[in-house]
């Protein structure tokens, strides 16, 4: 039991946003992370489930409401087919069936977990985030995770609809475990030539971010003969830290190894 005073279920965004501004108040979506907060100052939870935000809309880009569960990426026909089935494959590595049935896209993005696989995968797809801060705004996911905001409500994310190939690799001790490091790669590829490359590394242990040096290096090169060099560059340039789970040096090794696996995966697929 969390010792809180109120569990509120507002019906409109405006109401939720106002409530959210109160002292010692947090939003709750799937509740998975909220439930483990030990903060004794927390007094109030503002549940966002009554706000809808459950839509999955097709168009030039795909809109995914913040309350959509991670499991939908595996079962929804549209989401599971995006980018050659990328999300269906990737989400299998996230938590467990039960966790995916509970965790929301909004909560996963908003919590800005350093080890989030979801953020790494979405960032590789160049997703953007729609927020409510008195009005609706949209920012790239990259920017969103870097910036500090106050009490914004994530209302949706947008995934550009395109033919890019995406690959995700996660390294963890056991198969039901958080990442020691994860890598997401995205690109267009034609006749082995790469363009529009994204390379994202998460759980460094800092939050996922794009590795621009490696992206630049890869653009316009041929995939099959740039894997080794890209991996070397990754190892040399990436900024990582050590923690009780993994030493920094090994994170560097992993960043290179996972990049290679991801690129080989794309090579095989394309």
């Amino acid at each position: 039991m969390l010792s809180i005073k109120e569990y509120l279920r507002p019906d409109t965004l405006e109401e939720a946003y106002d409530l959210g501004k109160m002292e010692n108040t947090l939003y709750v979506s799937g509740g998975l992370m909220i439930a483990s907060l030990k903060s004794s100052r927390l007094e109030r939870l503002v549940d966002l489930k009554n706000l809808g935000m459950e839509e999955i809309e097709d168009g030039k880009r795909v809109k995914i409401g913040a309350n959509v569960k991670l499991s939908e990426f595996m079962t929804n026909p549209l989401l599971s087919s995006l980018n050659h089935g990328f999300f269906k494959k990737t989400m299998k590595d996230v938590g467990s069936t039960q966790i995916r049935n509970m965790a929301t896209v909004g909560g996963s993005v908003a919590f800005r977990l350093g080890w989030s696989d979801v953020i790494t995968a979405l960032m590789a797809s160049k997703a953007t985030v729609e927020l409510y801060e008195g009005q609706l705004n949209e920012v790239s996911l990259e920017r969103y995770v870097k910036e500090k905001r106050r009490k914004e409500i994530v209302t949706a994310i947008y995934i550009p609809k395109n033919d890019r190939f995406l690959a995700f690799e996660k390294f963890s001790k056991s198969t039901f475990d958080i990442a020691m490091l994860n890598v997401g790669v995205g690109m267009n590829i034609r006749d082995d030539k790469m363009s529009d490359v994204t390379v994202v590394v998460g759980s460094r242990p800092m939050i996922s971010g794009r590795i621009v040096e490696v992206e630049k290096f890869l653009n316009d090169k041929e995939l099959s003969n740039s894997i080794e060099a890209a991996a070397q560059l990754m190892r040399d340039t990436i900024k990582v830290g050590g923690d009780v789970r993994v030493k920094a040096e090994y994170r560097k090794v992993l960043s290179a190894a996972l990049l290679k696996k991801a690129m080989r995966g794309i090579g095989d697929e394309s």
Binding site: M1, S3, F171, K173, S174, T175, F176, D177, I178, V244, R245, V246, K247, Y250, V253, L254, A257, K260, K261
Partner: protein, 783 residues
Amino acid sequence: MNVREERSVATSLSSDKNFDVVNTSVEKIDGYALVKGKPVFTDDFDVPDSLIVKILRSPHAHAIVKNVDASKALELSGVACVLTYKDVPRIAFTRAGQGYPEPSPYDTFVLDKKVRYVGDAVAIVAAESEEIARKALKLIKVEYDVLDNIIDYEHAMDENAPIIHDESEISGAYDPKHNIASHYEMHFGDVDEELSKCDVTTEKTFYTPNQSHAMMEPHAAISYFDANGRLTIITSTQVPYHVRRIIKRIFGVESRVIKPRIGGGFGGKQAVHVEAYVTAVTLKTGRPARCIYTRKETMTASNTRHAMRFKIRVGADKDANLRVIDMQGLSNTGAYGEHALTTFMVAGSKTLPLYNKVNAVRFMGDIVYTNTESAGAFRGYGAPQGAFALDCALDELAHKLGMDPVEFKLKNSIREGETSPVFKVMGEGREGVEQIVGSCKIEECAIEGAKLFNWHEKRERQRIEGTKAHGYGVAFAMQGSSIPAIDMGGATIKMNDDGTFNLMIGATDLGTGSDTILAQIAAEALHTSVGKFVVYSSDTDVTPFDKGAYASSTTYVSGNATKRAAERMAREILKAASEITGESVEKLHLENGKVISKSGKSLTYSEIQTQLFYTFKQRQLEVTESFVSEVSPPPYMVTFAEIEIDLETGKVDVMSMLNYVDCGTPINPLLARGQVEGASSQGIGMALYEEHIFDKNGRMVTDDFFTYKVPSRDDIKKITVKFADSYEPTGPFGAKSVSEIGLDTPGPVIANAIFDAVGIRVNRLPIKSEDLYFKLNERGLTP
């Protein structure tokens, strides 16, 4: 193929052993209740008016409790009591649930004025609700005098190391002034001389880690006075009788201890954990008290496997005769000496006799105190630690000899009809017993296992391909069946007029299925079916004594007691039938729940007991028998494994594992197989995933399932189990133990397979991908 088919071949070979009930996979008798989710675990019992008990635990690894101020907590409405060391008896005891007198030192108090690890108990709080109890914990102010600590056991005996046990009441510890809880040494022959004569030798140091039992049900106990004022303790324990005895020692109070279904133990519940706390509260307040540990408490403040270091030297002549084994060990018992001496001795006594042809053996070492969670009993009980060092060292020796390790280990291992001097020298905490091995099918395990696994063909394969390396390993193991001449189990059988029997056993089913297999043994001896047995187990007021579930003894000791009781009941039934029918006993026999006479008459068990109740020579048929073994027949096992190493990351996956087991007659092949599969996966966890990480203050960082990774479903690829055709003459219907041995081999077999794959000898568990990667890198094996 299901287990029944697999066995049928072997069973048909043992022509003289035609069993009806034994050696069949009958369904577990508590299975229905468990799959229906019936309220059968300690936490499921609602005892009205219970106080909720919580423990205030030390944030320091080593400190004097200068003052405890509970006044604020006591002011909180709903707090019933806060107990500190001043409020509980100052009686030194050991939490270890062992036969009496225990071989573990008396170095523990319910609460003490000194705390010896992060998590050690400081105060007991009882309140009307969980929430109030939690709040009260926060309101207790404790002043500590923080002392220097020892977290790394390799430094426990350093000069100037702080003394962990300096209290005067301690008894049974070897040299507490130097943090040595226990010491042991034995030898025969001269190891140094023998080594000097060897053509090939190997010397290496091996490390095995602490490991958490991680049973799914946390520790739990409820205590209350029953209607007649008898203290009753419902507890998730493997040792109800030892709990009763220890509670009496501490508090001077008699009690009834009931073990309901328990959610796994693996040795972790072979100790007094929660019982003393709830008892203290019930005695103080007169009210029922309930304490359910959190996962964190279960991880940090119960027990862990003893971490051990072994420096091992082995040598052989050029004809591959193993001549000498020398093992010098160091074991970490943590803050208290629970099972300190005995687990250490088992590291030798359950490994060394396997190689009985050597000329010289030495086994010695110290078991030291540190400021970490107390170690305790854990499935394998030292044998996995010893086996890791010994089997890996022999693997290396085989390699140096240019010999197939299967061949080398088999050539030097024990055979049926042989003995080992180690049996006599090393027991558990004292001398052992001489024994001739009555059943040993290690040749079948090794030779047939190698065929099944495709060992010879696989070893011809290319090991490194692209970014992956594959390796094939083998490991040999033995264990024991019971602690001979010490551990006793009893069984009572009562016949009912409806043709059923009550089987009352002290034996403790902790999920293993012992209630079921004991009923099978009784049913076999009484020529009836398991369905005719209503089993009551582990209630100290109702069932006969049994040492409890440990030391691989239930099937063997409690099984023999049950068999004896059933055989005596059979004689009682025949006698009664003879009296009723007037035919001599020789003309009667039991068949299918009836007594049949040569003249063709038959009487059902129900008819007999009905007559004995109401009309004829009236009496209740009931018998009690006990069993203590003179020997501890070892089961044997040979494990083959294939591993894959990702050379880019150093990650190791166990692709398949074959366990070929000689456990005598598997009383229930399906349940026996489950024991081996489960032990294997715990061993894989110990070898690859499970790790205690401490911060600099000695706090365990990996104190939950989020950070302490037991293997999950996707981590376990394929575990195959085969049983050798074996019959142990002293066992109940030929049975030996099967529950622990599966944990002995995963560590060495994985390490050996890694060596086979990439030539790197791993000497430390768990094998971390990080470490392996950098070793691969040093050798230029990373792509």
